[in-house]
Amino acid sequence: MNILNVHQLAFSYSPSKTVLKKISFSLRAGEVFTILGPNGIGKSTLLHCLLGILPVNQGRIEVAGKDIQTVNQRFLAQQVAYVPQDYHVNSSIAVIDYLLTGRTPYLSLFQTPQHKDIMLAEKYLKEFKLIALRDRSFSSLSGGQQQLIAIIRALLQQPQLLILDEPMAALDLSRQYELLQLIKKLNRQQIAVILTTHLPDHALMLQAKVGLLNLNGTLEVGNSAQLLTKEKLEDLYQVPLDLEYMPNLHRYTCQIKL
């Protein structure tokens, strides 16, 4: 069974401003899907529709076979986790408490995080070499640290589908490398990943399923060999580009032609 089915999704903020049009795709367990597009095209809007944050005007979205319009919120939270582009938190909550909020879908109304939840959060902190941040205030962390902590929190939801909105934006090269390794690891653990990015190189690195979100609101879906071509990328970003094959990396890289 597909973890995600999207059929003819359409969304507009107002009658005159259609953002997404007739979007259809499916995602299997463990599949990685990179959505590319320039800034402001509607990538985050598409993710918010998939999560049920924004109500779609048309179409149907199913997670684990259930329509997200009618499914129980707690069930959805156990299937799908989201790391937003902006996770500003207006509080001095400690990192460990922030992480434990990711366990909320598994707690009943009367419950608070148990010892096993705390152990799981600490295990992830150690794996990411961030255990020193355990008792620090979340708002005192750097942007990159906050993003990693937000990703760990999403992983603590133990989802079948992880949705990441511009996850590389605040990360330095070493952290980007770690994240890409993590995505490959999740891939092996049969956890599906959707990530948005405005940089074609990220999609070229992952060499997975690709979606190009066009100016007209449609989403072209295919594999990286089909869609990550010079012509299509130039059409998408409206700038001259060059794709160069790197034999030592066994893939192409994308450069702006100045």
Binding site: L51, L76, V89, N90, S91, I93, D97, G102
Partner: protein, 322 residues
């Protein structure tokens, strides 16, 4: 937490001892164990000071918990329990009762009804405006509070300046002078319901403090739970206004002190706020009835103490962030 409980116990002993007549700890112990050995002292301690002390503990704890909950659910540290208009609504109800010549019981009942109506109008107004989110609730609360203030102004204008106006003003400034066991028993069910509801939802309060979107994605029904929290906090606030009139600053400042001590997790800040609020108001009320011949209204003292304390907290938080 053990430390704060000990402080509360010490404050209770201090409050039982202090007043127009001072009783030493030995006299106090003697009276508590053998009331018949000193009937005058027993009457003062059991019938006058003890209900007032219990009232101070309940009002302080309730306002602090309501403030803590509202600051979480509205993810805004500047919010206090009267943000949705309950205090002005209750003051309006009390003013109306005084004008109509009702006794204390009737005044308390109308104060409670006024508080509930004000919050009901706030929630209804927010729904009529038909926008989601917490900001519209806060704005609706400001509108209804403004309306209630105008109503109170009208009632004060029409009140008899010799017999009724002072009662209305005194009610607005807050006092525990008229608290007795029957008043406490009357509002106790409201306080118990409100407290239990907030304790049950304490973890969800933490999640809600991080924002509506993230809370929804963690599986929380934000609309329904926010409504429960508003109702529970309104029960606490309206119940305390029945007992003591308006007491400002407790619900705003105490949760900040709790957060400074234990961090921003309602699992810890909610119970700590309750104990700190109880301790604070007990000390303030003890001074209010002991410092002078006449009683000083509570809001005057909580204002004079609360405002510099809040400035200190704001400065300390800024330093911590740096």
């Amino acid at each position: 937490m053990c430390g704060i409980v000990c402080l509360v116990l010490i404050a209770i002993i201090f409050a039982l001892s202090c007043g127009r007549i001072y009783y030493s700890p030995s006299e106090l112990l003697q009276t508590l164990v053998h009331p018949q050995s000193n009937p005058v002292a027993a009457n003062v301690i059991f019938n006058i000071r003890l209900p007032r002390i219990i009232g101070a503990l309940l009002v302080g704890a309730s306002l602090a918990m309501a403030g803590c909950s509202f600051q979480n659910v509205f993810h805004n540290p500047l919010v206090s329990p009267d943000i949705l208009g309950v205090s002005y609504g209750a003051a309006g109800g009390a003013a109306m009762a005084i004008l109509l010549g009702y006794g204390l019981g009737g005044t308390q009942a109308l104060a409670f009804i006024g508080g509930i109506i004000a919050v009901g109008l706030t929630v209804a107004l927010a729904r009529i405006i038909h926008q989601k989110g917490t900001l519209i609730l806060i704005l609706a609360g400001i509108v209804i509070s403004g309306f209630m203030q105008a109503l109170i102004g009208l009632l004060k204008y029409t009140a008899d300046p010799d017999s009724q106006l002072p009662s209305i003003v005194y009610w607005q400034l807050g006092s525990l002078a008229k608290v007795d066991f029957s008043n406490i028993i009357a509002i106790l069910p409201l306080l118990i319901i409100g407290t239990i509801a907030l304790i049950v939802l304490r973890w969800h309060l933490t999640v809600l403090s991080l924002g509506d979107q993230q809370a929804q994605l963690e599986g929380i029904n934000i609309g329904l739970e926010r409504l429960f929290i508003i109702i529970a906090s309104t029960f606490l606030t309206a119940g305390t206004v029945c007992l003591s009139g308006n007491v400002g600053w407790v619900g705003l400042v105490i949760p900040h002190i709790a957060r400074l001590l234990v961090g921003d997790n309602a699992q810890r800040t909610l119970p700590l706020s309750a104990f700190l609020g109880a301790l604070f108001l007990l000390i303030v009320d003890t001074f209010a009835r002991s410092l002078s011949v006449g009683e000083i209204p509570l809001s005057i003292l909580t204002g004079f103490i609360g405002t510099p304390l809040f400035v200190y907290i704001l400065i300390k938080k800024k330093v911590r962030l740096n």
